[in-house]
């Protein structure tokens, strides 16, 4: 019954520019109040608006993204439509196209949909990080160091590790998830909650384990942002070995599926 109601709402909202409002309960990944308008709908929508209006709306979307990106939490399409795009939803694809172009040309950023099913977007840097440290001495975030260590271990271990491996490795680095760390605070929360919400890590429950255990994988953001090749280089430096000596990982880093990876040589 409720499903049928939702569908009719969708039809109404895409034809007249009225907001369907809060009558449908929005679950975390519920996007059914918004359907992607067709090209003809977009064209008709564009005819009813002035260029200035479209530019203004595009600018608002850009600003929304930039502010949301401060915390590195992905932007949900549902939120974007509800809070910013609103009555301009019929020309949503056009707005997104323009916003993407703005990010690309003005800010040097890429707007990427990391989750095609739940429609979530992130911004990543379009530019390749140079070799060696950046000449700009901007303040470093130690959490990135922590994340880097975790991602490296997961990658070198084949892409999935049980959580205990991570906790034990961190223990050896004087980071105890049970205690408050002076740099990171509640380490467990940072790793299992913050990094997961930012989509850097995935923290999934292993079924049939007692007591409950989880495993870590790379998150969707890490897949596009982090360079496996560069991690391997760093490993080589640390262990004073040739990166190619980890042949499986080397192949993984340079494989075709790694072509979305930054820094992969073609």
């Amino acid at each position: 019954m409720s499903q049928r109601k939702r569908l009719s709402n969708t039809q109404i909202s895409s034809q007249s520019k009225r907001q369907s409002g809060g009558s449908v309960a929005q679950e975390e990944n519920d996007d059914t109040t918004f359907t992607q308008p067709s090209t003809s709908q977009v064209q008709r929508g564009m005819q009813k608006l002035t260029p200035a209006q479209v530019d203004q709306k595009t600018a608002e979307v850009v600003q929304y993204f930039l502010v949301k990106d401060q915390k590195k939490i992905p932007v949900r399409r549902a939120d974007l439509v509800k809070h910013v795009v609103k009555e301009y939803r019929t020309i949503y694809p056009e707005i997104m196209k323009r916003a993407s172009r703005t990010f690309d040309q003005v800010f040097g950023l890429k707007m990427i949909e990391i989750d095609a099913k739940n429609h979530m977007y992130i911004l990543i840097n379009k530019l390749e990080p140079g070799d060696g440290a950046s000449p700009i001495k901007s303040p470093t975030n130690p959490k990135m160091g922590l994340l880097f260590v975790i991602l490296s271990v997961i990658f070198m271990k084949g892409g999935v590790v049980r959580e205990n491996l991570i906790w034990n490795t961190l223990n050896k680095l004087r980071v105890d998830p049970g205690e408050k760390h002076e740099e990171f605070g509640d380490v467990k929360k940072v790793v299992t909650d913050e990094f997961v919400r930012q989509r850097y890590l995935e923290y999934v429950r292993i079924p049939h384990t007692e007591p409950v255990e989880h495993e870590f994988r790379w998150g969707q953001r890490a897949d596009v942002e982090v360079s496996k090749t560069k991690i391997l280089e760093f490993m080589g430096q640390l262990h004073e070995q040739d990166p190619q000596s980890w042949s499986q990982q080397y192949r993984e880093a340079h494989s075709v599926s790694g072509s979305t990876q930054p820094g992969s040589s073609r």
């Binding site: 502010v67 140079g130 440290a133 160091g145 271990v153 760093f234």
Partner: protein, 351 residues
């Protein structure tokens, strides 16, 4: 029957251990019964079976074995470590004395834990190239972070291999900087001069504007009435300034050679507030270049209108600024000093 099955499985996987001896025993038991619980055999064996002390001991040993596998999992995973084999041999020995279901259940639990570990060790073997050892990684990383390894005798007692030496303050920052080259995250956007919390405002503003639109119609009558009063207030100041200029010129024309004392001009001995108003209005004259203040021979301020020809728009003459302040006390002192009895600027008629 249950017993035989369990025994069969265990035998298959515990090939490292001494399976031979056990095989013989099992066959004995299979022949005797399929009960699973107590053994049929000589009477003295019966006592051993039911001795609670022995049962507890066996169960406790099993639990120790399980704990040792779970807690030392990391170490046991390392390719060089053979502890798993020892654990299995130990378990085999214990199993000989298992008689009741509770102990067998613990044995089965140990089996799950051990095989899980065995599976992981096996997968390590299949990995080509160099295996990755997180412990070695951690050690190298500590050096990278600038760990200062102390060689203090006291420290050795406290640590168990983990905490010798101390990490510098910027240890994690070093790692973060090294990580920057590998992670191409978008730089976070922040206003240069700081900002208010940016998220809520855009939706709020829009709703407010929408609500205001319908009510504007109703309110239109009021503003027009008020506006007229505002306008008249401004005109009043201008009129007053012009009036004062008129008086100033008048006095000056009466006697061009005699300087008009500024204090005498502005002060109203009957009203302090009027005095302040006069100072205020006179300042406009000076600002617009219609009057000028100067010091006479006695270093007292005097005011005089600027001649028609001398008035220059925009005032390219060197302008000086000063701030005039007056308090009731000063006002009274001035009245006494200058012996002012009457105001030079009479009150205007109210509109």
């Amino acid at each position: 029957m249950k017993r035989a099955k369990a025994g069969g499985d265990e035998e298959a996987t515990r090939q490292n251990g001494s399976a031979g001896r056990r095989k013989g025993e099992q066959q004995q038991q299979q022949q005797s019964d399929g009960d699973g619980d107590c053994d049929l055999g000589p009477a003295d064996m019966q006592d051993e079976d039911n001795d609670p002390g022995l049962r507890r001991e066996i169960r406790s040993k099993y639990r120790d074995l399980i704990n040792s596998v779970q807690q030392n999992r990391e170490d046991m995973l390392r390719p060089s470590n053979n502890k798993l084999t020892e654990v299995l041999e130990e378990a085999n020995k214990l199993f000989k004395d298992v008689r009741q279901a509770r102990e067998a259940a613990l044995d089965a639990q140990l089996l799950v834990v051990a095989t899980d570990l065995g599976k992981e060790k096996a997968s390590q073997l299949f990995a080509e190239g160099t295996a990755f050892d997180p412990t070695a990684f951690a050690e190298h990383l500590l050096s990278f972070m600038g760990l200062n390894r102390l060689e203090d005798g006291e420290d050795e007692q406290q640590n168990e291999g983990a905490a010798d030496g101390y990490l510098p303050q910027d240890a994690w920052h070093r790692v973060a900087r090294r990580a920057e080259c590998c992670i191409r995250s978008a730089p976070a956007f922040h206003y240069m001069m700081g900002s208010f919390h940016a998220e809520p405002p855009p939706p709020k503003q829009r709703t407010e504007r929408q609500r205001k639109a319908p009510s504007k119609e109703a309110k239109r009558i009021m503003p027009t009435q008020l506006k007229r009063m505002e306008g008249s207030h401004q005109e009043a100041t201008e009129k007053e300034v012009e009036r004062i200029l008129g008086y100033l010129k008048g006095y000056y024309q009466d006697d061009p050679s005699s300087p008009i004392s500024y204090y005498e001009f502005v002060i109203d001995p009957k009203s302090f507030s009027r005095t302040v108003e006069n100072i205020f209005h006179t300042s406009f004259l000076v600002r617009d270049g219609l009057a000028r203040l100067y010091m006479d021979s006695a270093k007292l301020p005097c005011i005089a209108p600027v001649e028609e020809g001398e008035v220059e728009a925009g005032g390219s003459i060197s302008r000086k600024q000063c701030i005039v302040s007056i308090s009731p006390k000063t006002w009274k002192e001035l009245i006494a000093a200058f012996d002012i009895t009457d105001t030079m600027i009479p009150l205007a008629n109210t509109d």
